[in-house]
């Protein structure tokens, strides 16, 4: 029995498991109405009068949110999944311009755009055992892009934090004073967690290290569940310190690109 190293071609063009893709599709359909709920948000200040009118009277109305939810229900059903995912992307794109939640919307829109290339409608009801679990939903590269987005998301933040000013805790002390998003006052250089008082000179490098770990560990099959648990703990901790609107949830949603069995383990040559 010989084994073959996965090639770049395998990385991009290995077939995606249709049943797992269907679960991912349903997860998208469930997450989008929650992550894009916008009817309580304000018209963006950059919008010129005609666009502001469309935002105020169409896009930020309860009816539009309900319409998005209905389109998501169609997506969940798997009927013309690629076309519906593309339509959903177009419908949601204007909401990326809202003042609040831009980052989470960018993350989800990019993921949805990539996912629209997947033939996730190959399997409509993934819980049925006979619904084609061995069929392909297309090549791997759209899923790889979603995975890369998670890596880039943690990677750029880890890199941005790798400065003497951040690692010393100074940046966090300033930010907690400047921004109302911070739930705690860190200006005295200490972060209090339950009974622990952690110096920012320790907490700041730890947060950068955590993001380096999360950027890399999902790619190691043996570590991906550890990374997911570490990521959940990391975001729970962040949520105690500051609010970043929906970015936590959007980031955690991307974990599915690693955790769902979208790619079957390769069979070694000679295995029948």
């Amino acid at each position: 029995m010989t084994s073959r190293r996965p090639s770049f071609d395998d990385f991009l063009f290995a077939p995606v498991n249709a049943q797992a893709a269907a679960w991912f599709r349903i997860a998208f359909a469930a997450a989008i109405p929650f992550l894009f709920e916008s009817d309580a948000l304000g018209v963006p200040i950059w919008a010129p009068p005609p666009a502001a009118w469309v935002y105020e009277h169409v896009l930020l109305q309860r009816g539009y949110t309900i319409f998005i939810a209905l389109v998501c229900a169609v997506l969940a059903s798997g009927w013309r999944a690629r076309a519906v995912a593309s339509l959903l992307f177009v419908l949601l794109l204007p909401l990326a311009g809202l003042e609040i939640g831009q980052l989470s919307r960018q993350v989800m829109l990019t993921a949805l755009l990539c996912f629209s290339f997947i033939r996730s409608g190959t399997v409509r009801f993934p819980w049925r055992r006979t619904s084609g679990g061995e069929s392909s939903a297309g090549p791997a590269w759209p899923i790889r892009l979603i995975q890369l987005q998670l890596t880039v998301l943690y990677g750029v933040n880890a890199l941005a934090k790798s400065t003497p000013q951040y690692l010393s805790g100074e940046a966090l002390m300033d930010l907690s004073a400047e921004l109302s998003n911070f739930r705690v006052d860190l200006s005295d250089g200490v972060m209090e967690l339950a009974v622990l008082a952690i110096p920012l000179s320790v907490a700041a490098p730890a947060s950068a290290l955590a993001e380096y770990f999360l950027a890399a560990a999902f790619w190691v099959p043996r570590l991906k569940w550890v990374a997911a648990l570490a990521g959940l703990a990391f975001h729970a901790l962040i949520a105690r310190v500051l609010t970043i609107f929906m970015l936590d949830y959007a980031t955690i949603f991307l974990y599915l690109a690693f955790l769902l069995p979208l790619f079957r383990p390769r069979r070694a040559a000679g295995d029948a």
């Binding site: 069929s135 392909s136 090549p139 921004l179």
Partner: protein, 127 residues
């Protein structure tokens, strides 16, 4: 698993789309940086709100020594000033002082600076 391993029926075309999307993803990546660097633009203007026991209040510009610093420096200086005899003398009998700090922040993902306003360190009523 059946092989339907392209989107466009052409691997070169698929690779072009992949490269284009990856380029967009990387180009937009800096927008995803959250709270890694101080966001304040410029310096802080400090006003002083003098609140009488009956709630009447007047707002005056705080002493020049407290103006024009970063927010954290301004807060530190206000705390030090409020502890001096000059600072304590400014508190009206039975009333209080409120320090209003006005500054501008720039979020990494937004092209528009936003004005912020912080009322802080309300001095306790004088005995």
């Amino acid at each position: 698993m059946s092989e339907r391993s392209t989107v466009t029926a052409s691997r070169p075309r698929d690779l072009v789309i992949f490269a284009a999307l990856l380029t967009c993803l990387l180009a937009l990546a800096p927008r995803l940086i959250v709270y890694a660097r101080p966001a304040q633009l410029g310096t802080t203007r400090v006003d002083l709100r003098v609140v009488a026991p009956n709630g009447d209040n007047t707002t005056v510009r705080a002493p020049e020594s407290l103006q024009g610093h970063t927010l954290r420096d301004a807060i530190t200086r206000i705390e030090a000033f409020a502890a001096t005899p000059e600072g304590r003398a400014m508190v009206p009998p039975g009333g209080r002082l409120e320090w209003q700090l006005n500054y501008t922040v720039q979020f990494p993902h937004s092209p528009h600076p936003r004005r912020r306003h912080l009322t802080t360190r309300a001095a306790p009523s004088s005995p």
